[in-house]
């Protein structure tokens, strides 16, 4: 069954990728989507069997990949509770996104390619989460990176999409470099890369020193640090986050699947999977906490002022990933994975909802041009609201009532506070996550208010002038029963917002169920009383790691802090964007520097541009023009070719046509040879 789960998407990719042109777009869609739904169904069976039931963790070996000296790497599919959780997340979201894309992409001429890439991504992600050794994990890691690159640049006619794809690829290379170094170091320390053997060897090498660059480092700290660099790249953490917002250039379903629910959580998964190593590297865990805390706060502040609907959600993703790392940093791996699990539902919901809005607005993404949509696309509005409630963590503290985010996010905040007893960095994380919770609430509701409330701005003057269809706007305004064909017929004729086709709304509904219920249903299993039965040892916690108990013994005000901040954020947004429209501009005018600082994303792109990109370009240009062009080409191909042409010209010039020249040449030849011998004789 696990083989089927992993390889069905690959089959779908091969069919749609190789024969997509021949079998047509519709067949490609149906094949890949059907296979994904089968895989998703199997995933839930595995989840119920292995995680919730009494099935045993296993790792069937498919084949030996390569053997070189002591290094032997197998293809194996590891199935334990952690994998089962990831399988459910990946395949469910992927299947829904495939389904959704049938509607969202139905105007695109290269749908077979799109669905092939989606399936390829799914396969790579599945091979990542089922990896039984670091090399296979790296394979999946790079595979999802490749698919992400291809999908961000899916609309390759757009220069901005290509630039974003390259940026994502290059920034991820930085992280992957660290990951690769980490793998090397792990092999050097344990002489193995298989998880079983590495985990078994780790306690024995705790405290070992390694001598690098003239200084001694704790070996495990260094190894986990390097591995975490990889996680930072993939999960868009502070300093390596710059690619994620730009990745929104890809089609919206891609953003939902890859850049919200699955791929970006690979870093979180990796840390959880490698928890047996990380537990022996407290310094690295402190670093993880710090990075997570900074990211959670920093991304949330940028989200406050962005105007592109997808970018707001992208920064929100970035911020939520920070929460997950905070949880893992303080040792509550299960909470990190739990937040990953719930986040996948509500963030995919938000992205797909945003996609539905964008679809309704005919590919308008700027929220300033939206407004008043709630009664035009009511279903989407309802779904987006559920997603927002889940993201902001609405719930009643002290009870079991609340949306998904309420359980997972508040638990992280509590865990951060509890861990503060031992590590001061955790207090910082606590403060940062609590503040970020308020900011999250603010920007989420800002998004809702700007998009769905206020004055309708969709029929602005230039659209009217361009299309001359202003009289029709209201005729189609309530057309939420539209099917694909109706949309096709007048899709670009006028700018009336319209509800998306049913094929796009079903995934929203399914995800909404998850966003509402996933927290309440699974909280006990993931991090409560069912912890041991659920995880069955898939996550490792050290002997003195009692964080999951300690988090229940904290002052009551801590539990309420997040909820209070959430409410404050909502009220703030409500005031600024509903009660007193225009306040936002006033605040921006009052603090112009701060506003620009946030709007320009803390100037990270500019900073990196100055520090890395431009020097790299300068170096590249130097090597290209100077090194390659002038030296290698100049002396090599071009130079030789030029000399050959010179030689040809000389030889042709010698051929004057005069007999006496020819005779002279002959005599010179004889004279030269004779001279050679005479000179040789004298010597």
């Amino acid at each position: 069954m696990i083989q089927a789960i992993v390889f069905l998407p690959l089959i779908g990719f091969l069919i749609a990728g190789l024969f997509g042109r021949r079998i047509g777009a519709r067949a490609s869609e149906l094949v890949t989507t059907t296979l994904l739904f089968i895989a998703a169904g199997f995933s839930w069976i595995v989840f119920f069997d292995v995680a919730l039931g009494h099935g045993h963790a296993s790792a069937p070996v498919l084949a030996n990949w390569f053997t070189s000296g002591k290094l032997s790497v197998d293809w194996a599919l590891r199935v334990d509770s952690l994998t089962a959780v990831m399988l459910v997340v990946v395949n469910t979201v992927s299947a829904l996104v495939h389904f959704y894309s049938i509607g969202y992409m139905h105007e695109d001429p290269s749908r077979p390619r799109f669905f092939a890439y989606l399936s390829l991504f799914t396969f790579a992600m599945l091979s990542l989460v089922t990896a039984d050794n670091l090399v296979q994990m790296f394979f999946g890691w790079e595979g999802v990176g490749l698919a992400s690159y291809l999908l961000i640049g899916f609309w390759y006619q757009k220069p901005s999409a290509n630039a974003a794809a390259i940026k994502a690829f290059v920034v991820n290379r930085v992280g992957d470099f660290g990951f690769a170094l980490g793998i090397f170091l792990v092999f050097q320390l344990t002489q193995s890369l298989s998880f079983e053997q590495v985990f078994a060897a780790v306690p024995g090498i705790a405290g070992h020193k390694i001598h690098v660059f003239g200084a001694d480092f704790d070996a495990l700290t260094l190894a986990t640090f390097l591995l975490f660099i990889g996680a930072m790249g993939k999960s868009a953490q502070f300093l390596l986050h710059t690619w994620l917002p730009d990745a929104m250039e890809g089609p919206t379903p891609v953003s939902a699947l890859i850049h919200a629910a699955t791929m970006v959580t690979a870093g979180v998964f990796m840390v959880a999977r490698l928890s047996p190593i990380f537990e022996y590297a407290p310094d690295t865990l402190a670093f993880v906490t710090l990075i997570g805390a900074i990211t959670a706060f920093f991304a949330a502040t940028i989200g406050l002022v962005q105007n592109d609907i997808k970018r707001v959600i992208a920064y929100s993703t970035c911020s939520q990933l920070g929460y997950m790392f905070v949880a893992e940093g303080v040792g509550a791996y299960s909470l990190g994975v739990f937040h990953l699990f719930t986040h996948a539902f509500f963030k995919a919901l938000l992205f797909l909802g945003a996609g539905s809005v964008i679809h309704a607005m005919h590919h308008e993404q700027d929220m300033r041009n939206m407004g008043g949509l709630w009664n035009k696309i009511p279903f989407t509005f309802a779904m987006m609201t559920i997603g927002t409630l889940a993201l902001t963590g609405v719930g009643i503290p002290g009870t079991e009532l609340g949306f998904a985010g309420f359980f997972s996010k508040d638990a992280i905040i509590e865990a951060a506070f509890a861990a503060g007893e031992h590590r001061s960095v955790a207090y910082l994380a606590f403060i940062s996550t609590v503040v970020a919770a308020g900011l999250t609430s603010f920007y989420s509701w800002r998004l809702v208010f700007m998009t769905f409330f206020g004055k309708a701005k969709e029929s602005h003057a230039d659209a009217r002038a361009a299309h001359g269809h202003d009289d029709h706007t209201h005729a189609d305004a309530h057309a939420h029963g539209h099917d694909d064909h109706a949309h096709d017929d007048h899709g670009h004729g006028h700018h009336a917002p319209h509800e998306s086709p049913i094929v796009m709304l079903i995934p929203l509904a399914v995800l909404a169920v998850g966003a509402v219920a996933a927290g309440a249903v699974f909280m006990g299993d993931f991090a409560g009383h069912g912890y041991d039965e659920f995880w069955k040892g898939a996550l490792y916690t050290g002997h003195d790691n009692h964080i999951l108990h300690a988090m229940h013994e904290i002052p009551h005000w801590v539990s309420y802090a997040a909820t209070v901040m959430m409410i404050l954020g909502f009220l703030g947004a409500f005031f600024v964007y509903q009660l007193a429209p225009g306040t936002a501009q006033k605040i921006a005018h009052a603090f112009p520097r701060l506003y620009r600082f946030l709007l320009n994303k803390w100037y990270f792109d500019e900073l990196y541009d100055a520090i890395f990109v431009r020097p790299a370009f300068a170096l590249g240009r130097l090597l290209w023009k100077g090194g390659d062009g002038r030296i290698i080409d100049g002396l090599g191909p071009d130079g030789i070719a030029a000399r050959v042409v010179d030689g040809a010209r000389l030889a042709v010039k010698l051929q004057t046509g005069y007999v006496y020249h020819y005779a002279f040449a002959m005599l010179i030849g004889v004279a030269a040879v004779v001279t050679w011998f005479v000179a040789g004789g004298l010597r």
Partner: protein, 477 residues
């Protein structure tokens, strides 16, 4: 062995041609201008008969005419090549000459006369025989070059060739006289016996001058200057003849003289041969790049190829000679095939000879385009075509003899020359079509097809050529 049996056994091809050519002259004198067709066919028959005589004649070695003439495996091998070159030239020339109003019976007669000279040259075993063979060959060639006497370019070509040829003959004779003066004999064997150890400077002078005279005949640089002008100016069948048969004879006699007359001073003549080889290869590679006329291109191509043949000679051993023999055979086929293609270049009755006239040949005449492209690949030395093996054997011999710089220069020159051969292929296949060529006679198409098939199939069954070349090389040592 009586004189007459010796003649019958070892001098049969020459006898057939010598007697036959007299008959041809009589027929021509008798029938006048109408004689061309008949004489041409009879000349072809004579040459074919001479080849048969070689194939079914003696296989033993013999020395005739007081040591002036030697009949050995090497001589027979090269004679077959020479006769094939002459025979194919005669077959290919008929249509061209008739259309050009040059259908005079003298042309086949000149070819046969020149061929007799070549056969004598190949078998020459003393300096007098060498000179006689060269002059008999060359005098006929001078006339042939200017055969289109009303055409200024052809007359110029003939005149240039004659003047420079006279100069080279003078050099040859001067060298021969020096050699005679220092060794006291004209026999190659005698010279070999006389010159041992450190040679006096006079012998070196003689050697240089003799080799210069011979290099002129094989158009090795820097004695090549006449080649492009004569190739371009002379009527194309004459050019085909120049490029094929005389080259065989010239390389063969050079090989014979250095191994039979100067085995004691290998180090000295090796230096001269290396000089000639490098100069020819480089010049052939560089100068051809600038050419627009396919005939001039072939002129430089032949200079380059002679350079490669000399690489084998420079090795100075039996393997080298074997390489030279194989090279000559393959070069002959490539040259004849290429000229068969060039002779087909005729638009609306008039011959054309620009490389650009071949543009888009692949779309007008796919078969001919393919054959010509294969010929070009073979000339460039692209495996698995025969041209590759030709270069392989000579370079292998050079490497085995320790002449690494020479071999490396050879490979580089080959790479440079590939440029202009491949450019012809590019023109044929990728340029916009030029006006289509006229329907060409069967003989030309047959020669083109047979030569290409030989080049394509050589690697499958190289044994006959390689074995004959091995036997030929052995007979010189």
């Amino acid at each position: 062995m009586s004189f007459s049996t010796a003649l019958a056994h070892h001098f049969l091809p020459e006898t057939i041609l010598a007697l036959g050519v007299l008959a041809l002259i009589l027929i021509g004198a008798w029938r006048g201008t109408r004689a061309f067709g008949l004489v041409n066919e009879l000349a072809a028959g004579l040459l074919g008969l001479a080849i048969l005589a070689l194939f079914f004649g003696q296989t033993s070695e013999a020395s005739l005419f007081e040591g002036a003439f030697v009949d050995d495996a090497f001589a027979r091998f090269v004679k077959v090549l020479t006769l094939v070159g002459s025979l194919v030239t005669v077959l290919m020339s008929r249509d061209y000459l008739q259309r050009a109003k040059l259908g005079n019976f003298e042309f086949p007669v000149l070819v046969v006369l020149s061929t007799i000279g070549m056969l004598l040259l190949v078998s020459a075993d003393n300096l007098i025989a060498l000179y006689l063979g060269i002059e008999l060959m060359s005098l006929a060639l001078y006339v042939a070059a200017a055969f289109d006497r009303d055409d200024a370019r052809a007359s110029e070509a003939g005149l240039k060739y004659f003047v420079l040829g006279a100069l080279s003959s003078g050099m040859l004779l001067y060298g021969a006289s020096l050699l005679y003066g220092f060794s006291g004999t004209i026999s190659f064997d005698g010279i070999a016996k006389a010159i041992t150890g450190a040679p006096p400077l006079g012998v070196i002078f003689g050697l240089v001058f003799v080799l210069a005279g011979l290099a002129f005949k094989m158009s090795a640089a820097p004695f090549h200057m006449w080649t492009p002008d004569v190739y371009e100016g002379a009527p194309t069948p004459v050019t085909a003849f120049f490029a094929s048969a005389p080259k065989m004879a010239a390389v063969a006699i050079t090989t014979r003289i250095v191994f039979t007359a100067f085995p004691g001073i290998v180090g000295q003549w090796q230096q001269i041969v290396i000089f000639l080889a490098i100069a020819s290869m480089l010049l052939g590679s560089f100068a051809a790049i600038g050419q627009t006329s396919i005939k001039r291109l072939m002129a430089y191509s032949s200079i380059g190829h002679m350079g490669f043949a000399l690489v084998g000679l420079a090795a100075g051993n039996e393997a080298g000679v074997r390489g030279v023999a194989i090279y000559l055979a393959i070069y002959l086929v490539m040259t004849l095939g290429a000229f068969a293609a060039i002779l087909q270049m005729r638009v609306e009755g008039r011959p054309v000879e620009k490389i650009s006239d071949l543009s888009g040949l692949s779309r007008n005449n796919g078969t001919a385009a393919f054959f010509l492209a294969m010929l070009m690949f073979s000339l460039a030395g692209v495996p698995p075509l025969a041209g590759f093996f030709a270069k392989y054997y000579v370079l292998l011999a050079a490497v085995d003899a320790g002449l690494y710089p020479l071999a490396i220069i050879g490979v580089l020159a080959s790479a440079i020359s590939a440029f202009y051969y491949l450019r012809v292929v590019k023109v044929i296949y990728f340029d916009e079509p030029a006006p289509a060529f006229d329907q060409s006679p069967l003989s030309l198409r047959a020669v083109l097809a047979v030569s290409t098939v030989f080049l394509l199939g050589f690697w499958l069954y190289p044994a006959p050529v390689v074995e004959a070349a091995t036997a030929a090389a052995k007979s010189l040592f």
